[in-house]
């Protein structure tokens, strides 16, 4: 397989994953905004910007930080590389270049989401965003289904690899920002918590019900953190993403007969995560731990690019 083809497939996986994550983030933020009293609602949008790593980009636009402006920036802005629109542009452009490495279903799911978004009015508000997000979630499910039905070859593996790398990054950033905001330093763990805010986190990673099933307990911040960090049965947890990256890399290694730095780093991370306990993580500082994870994740991303000669 051409290195460029592999890179396109990897980035399709990343972009689709990020588009869906951003969509869920907006959905959860709209929900939070509606539930909470002012000014908590406004800070909901502010933290959404932080989670999407779009804070400085938004500031650069010079726009006022209103829910409408932030929502539009996250949804439709062409200037925001993480907006749903930019992600879908990216996914489609990559997909077009490797059209024949994808199945028709996979291509059509991407193309339809892209067409939907193009038809959207720039002045649209939360009502329209919600419609868009619903449609997008359906299309990404369709895409995931189509990918699931693909031949288990390198094409499939590179899409899943990209998605897994992106998923880990998104979950880590979500938890980092929200936890930091909700439990400022010095605040007692286990103190009075903002239930709505915590529900928002679970909504973003579609884990509200999963939490109940696993813990049968009311929302407790450290349990939410544990769920998203170390629980392998939770598909968007860091443990599950790290495991997926190792799996896909090993699969590619079996086909090409070669393994390298990316494999080594990914396995190392998986081992670290398996040994980590949530108590230790908190003891060392959650923020520091998550920052370390995000840095390691981009190191693995670079190692993948180098190992398969993406650029």
């Amino acid at each position: 397989m051409l290195s460029r083809t592999a890179a396109h497939l990897y980035w399709i996986g990343r972009y689709v994953e990020r588009a869906e994550f951003t969509a869920r983030l907006i959905e959860a933020t709209i929900r939070l905004d509606a539930l909470s009293a002012r000014p908590a609602g406004e800070s909901a949008w502010e933290s959404a910007l932080l989670v999407a790593a779009a804070e400085s980009g938004f500031v650069a636009t010079g726009e006022e930080r209103t829910p409408a402006n932030v929502g539009r920036y996250l949804t439709l802005s062409a200037d925001n590389p993480s907006s749903i629109r930019s992600c879908l542009d990216g996914a489609r452009s990559n997909a077009k270049s490797v059209r024949t490495a994808l199945t028709r279903d996979a291509w059509e799911a991407i193309n339809r989401s892209w067409l939907n978004l193009r038809g959207m009015n720039a002045a649209a508000g939360p009502q329209e965003w919600m419609q868009l997000i619903e449609a997008l979630k359906a299309e990404t499910r369709g895409f995931e289904g189509a990918v699931h039905r693909m031949l288990r070859n390198e094409s499939h593996a590179f899409i899943e690899l990209g998605a897994a790398v992106e998923r880990g990054d998104n979950t880590a950033r979500l938890l980092d920002v929200k936890y930091h905001l909700l439990l400022p330093e010095g605040e007692q763990v286990g103190g009075l918590i903002d239930r709505d805010q915590w529900t928002t986190i679970l909504h973003t990673v579609s884990a509200v019900t999963a939490y109940r099933w696993l813990y049968r307990d009311t929302l407790r911040p450290w349990l939410v953190a544990e769920l998203l960090l170390t629980r392998g049965e939770m598909p968007r947890s860091l443990a599950a993403s790290a495991h997926e990256v190792v799996q896909q890399l090993s699969f590619i290694g079996r086909i090409t007969g070669m393994q390298g730095e990316a494999d080594r780093l990914a396995r190392q991370r998986q081992t670290t995560l398996a040994r980590a306990s949530i108590e230790e993580i908190f003891a060392g500082g959650l923020h520091e731990w998550l920052t370390g994870y995000i840095v390691e994740n981009s190191r693995i991303d670079r190692a993948i690019g180098a190992q398969f000669r993406f650029a």
Binding site: M1, S3, S93, T100, R309
Partner: protein
């Protein structure tokens, strides 16, 4: 254009709704199939093309960035004797083109003997002087030629233009046929039609045959400028149907005059490159330094004999419109015979007498830029506005050497589905000729382009032209075996489907 009465390939001249004797079946089919049914099938075909993404881009039209070329459901038919006449002429012409290229990049006999003026070649930007003396692998320059033909009567065919650089459109030949087989199967029962689907195999064999390295499996790739290119669909379609990699410049690197492609398993040596990038952009070291589409060092690798480029660089000198007018002499010089496919009479405006004639008769002539393509830079005198004529007059006086002029031909028409029912529309035809070490191969078929506007003679897709399937009829013996195959296939398929329907229905 109402004053030009053209030969219609189905209804003849004078117009006879019963059809020319050879094609009464087709005329009957056109008459018997209601326009609404034809419309329905045509829409089904176009919907399929859109879903497949068989699109092209029109430069300068942002909104229409992805359009499909209109497809016309009424096919065009060439009888077996007509095709024989054409293919003999095509083989002769393509052999002459390769002989000419070998000569001008070699001994230059044709210049020394004064058949073609030396300065016309040597001062032509399409002549790549630094390649003089370079012999491409196996001595073949133009592996793929698209020869544009027009017709004015039952046996009157002319070459309108040679395309020896990177002719496009072959994917339409293949996709149009797929659509016709699905939507109008009854036509293929009435007529024994030669299949076109071996084109990708023939092309791959042609490419493999010119590999410089002798080995069991030469590595062939198709080099595309990328998915923003108007013909990207064709590039990916061809690569896919040949089973070769579709590469972009960034996938290739040249190391010590050897070309490699980067794969996830390491680099793989490349032997043959079907490049769909023009000379100017293919190597920033040899040609335009600002090209981002090119592969640095590719031309050096070619000159070192380590890679075959399909087509070789420098072939533009053979299809230049200024050279075109010399093609009858060129064919005679190398083949020793008269050209079996004549040229359209051409006035070289670089010659004072021809220029004067052109200026005096602008309203009757077609004037073309020698380096124009795609229907741009072209004046069709009889249909042009006064302003357009005046504009070309000024341009001709200023730079006569950049133009040629030709009489406006009464291009043949083929019945075509229009809003007002089936009506004659002008067409041209581009067959694709492959040249490998085994000689010239022409898959029986080609791209028929049709000017959809009434009276229009410009068939280019960028100017609102459409395409048709071009059916080449097989000789009589083939008829039997073909129809036998159709029957047995048809029966087997029907039974299997009935069986499936039954077993599915059982539980009820």
């Amino acid at each position: 254009m109402a004053d030009i009465i053209a030969f219609d390939e189905v209804w003849g001249k004078p117009h006879d709704p019963a059809g020319r004797p050879e094609l009464t079946d087709l005329a009957g089919w056109i008459a018997d199939t209601p326009a609404s049914e034809l419309q329905r099938r045509q829409q089904a075909a176009e919907a399929a093309f859109r879903q497949l993404g068989i699109t092209f881009a029109v430069y300068g039209e942002e909104e229409a960035a992805e359009r499909i070329i209109p497809f016309d459901i009424v096919p065009r038919i060439f009888t077996a004797p007509e095709w024989r006449q054409l293919s003999e002429g095509l083989v002769q012409r393509v052999e002459a083109i390769n002989a000419f290229l070998t000569d001008v990049y070699g001994p230059q006999r044709i210049l020394k003997e004064g058949i073609v003026p030396a300065e016309l070649i040597l001062a032509n930007p399409q002549f790549r002087g630094f390649l003089h003396g370079t012999v491409p692998p196996h001595g073949i320059f133009a592996h793929i030629c698209g020869i544009d033909l027009v017709r004015t009567g039952p046996t009157d065919f002319f070459v309108l233009e040679d395309n020896a650089r990177t002719p496009s459109g072959v994917s339409y030949m293949l996709e149009n046929r797929e659509a016709m087989l699905r939507l109008c199967p009854e036509l293929f029962q009435r007529y024994p039609v030669c299949p076109v689907d071996r084109y990708p195999d023939s092309l791959r064999e042609t490419m493999q045959s010119v590999a410089p390295r002798r080995g069991d499996m030469p590595v062939c790739v198709l080099l595309t400028p990328g998915h923003f290119n108007s013909a990207f669909y064709e590039h990916s379609f061809l690569a896919d149907s040949m089973g070769i990699e579709l590469v972009e410049a960034a996938d290739l690197e040249v190391d010590d005059d050897v070309v490699w492609m980067r794969t996830i398993e390491g680099r793989v040596r490349v032997d043959v490159i079907y490049r769909r990038i023009d000379d100017d952009y293919i190597d920033p070291i040899a040609f335009r330094p600002d090209s981002l589409l090119g592969v640095p060092g590719l031309i050096a690798a070619y000159m070192a004999g380590n890679v075959a480029l399909v087509n070789a660089p420098g072939t533009g000198i053979a299809d230049d419109k200024a050279i075109y007018s010399y093609m009858p002499e060129i064919v005679r010089f190398y083949s020793g015979d008269e050209a079996k496919l004549p040229n359209v009479e051409t006035y070289r405006c670089r010659e004072p007498q021809a220029l004067q004639y052109t200026l005096d008769n602008l309203e009757k002539l077609v004037v073309k830029l020698v380096d124009g393509s795609g229907g741009y830079g072209m004046l069709v005198g009889p249909t042009a506005t006064k302003a357009q004529v005046a504009e070309f007059r000024a341009a001709l006086v200023a730079e006569p050497h950049r133009y040629i002029a030709q009489p406006t031909l009464a291009l043949s028409t083929v019945p075509t589905l229009t809003e007002a029912g089936v009506a004659p529309r002008h067409v041209d035809f581009r067959p694709f000729c492959l040249t490998g070490t085994h000689g010239v191969t022409i898959v029986p078929g080609g791209l028929t382009r049709v000017a959809l506007r009434e009276g229009s003679l410009v068939v280019n897709s960028s100017q609102g032209g459409g395409t048709k399937d071009s059916l080449i009829l097989a000789d009589a013996p083939m008829t039997q075996s073909m129809s036998g195959m159709t029957q047995s296939m048809g029966a087997g398929l029907t039974q299997a489907m009935v069986g499936m329907v039954q077993s599915l229905g059982e539980p009820r």
